[in-house]
């Protein structure tokens, strides 16, 4: 019998999982502003900043800082690595559910990530 897959801890936190899933909904090449992302996720700015920083450190999310009408604005998008990591996470979850698995199955190292 195959062992249960390990889950990526960077994505595993609920807040970061929601950030990743939301950014995954963007068509390739599109970017979402911090304020809109915060509004969709109904998170505080501080909370979202912390989650996004973690995801950037893992190279799952890319940010672009710019100015619009003289105001600073930051746009976010998923990296290719981030898309793959999320797909792998969902796949691992699916495997666990198929196996009727419980679980304490997280890994400290993000597969393919740089943490």
């Amino acid at each position: 019998m195959n062992p249960l897959p390990e889950l990526n801890t960077v994505i595993h936190a609920q807040g970061r999982l929601r950030v990743m899933v939301t950014l995954q909904a963007l068509p390739p090449g599109d970017q979402l502003a911090f304020s809109r992302l915060r509004e969709i996720l109904e998170m505080t700015s501080g909370n979202l900043s912390v989650h996004v920083r973690k995801l950037e450190e893992a190279e799952y999310v890319r940010s672009v800082k710019t100015h619009e009408r003289r105001s600073p604005i930051t746009y976010f998008s998923l990296t290719t690595q981030g898309r793959h990591a999320l797909e792998e996470y969902v796949q691992a979850l699916q495997t666990m559910l198929s196996a009727g698995g419980p679980a304490s199955a997280t890994t400290e190292r993000p597969p393919g990530g740089a943490l």
């Binding site: 801890t9 936190a13 999982l17 929601r18 963007l26 599109d30 502003a33 979850l93 419980p102 679980a103």
Partner: protein
Amino acid sequence: MTAEDDGRPAEDALFDPAASRELIERQRDTAESELAPDWRLLYAVWGLALLIGYGCLYLQRTVLSGVPPAIAGVAMFLALLAALTVTTRHDIRLNRGLRGPSALAGARIGWAYVAGFAVVGVVAWSLYRGGAPEPLVWLAFAGLSLLVIGLVSMVSAAWEHERLRFGLGGWILAADALALVVGMPHAYLVLSLGGGGGFLAAAVLLTVRRAARARRP
């Protein structure tokens, strides 16, 4: 449920994979409703606009011939204005804080419609100025407008791999061709039921699909 760690290292605690999957699916639905065009709404408003607008024109030309033509014209104008207002508000809300190729492509498709309708107006005006009979001018105006809608729908849908919208564009062109064949005043009835009905049928189809997807375990 997955651990919410507010940025601190995640607890390696027991969690419920089913609840995690549910969270992902719920968030996908939220993201889709926020970041993807609501085609049900857009098809419904344009379907109603064409149904009511061309319906009024048809009734004025047939059973309600006592009503001044201007009244039916104003009804058509208001129906289209309402649909355009809903579409514009929807696009502004959708594109807030969003940038990239798809937002740019959406804006360009909008400009393609504007350019197409402007040319339709010029053609109709040229026909009128050249002494073409009034029914022919109105037939050209209605027929060319639907040609623009059908063609832009098909081309944009082909690019985005949207089968339903591609089929709807084809349906609109077929209704348009039929309207041109039957001529005035019945062309208005074809455009009302065929054109408007096509959009409304697409809206209903999407609603049914969405409900079926929501029921899926």
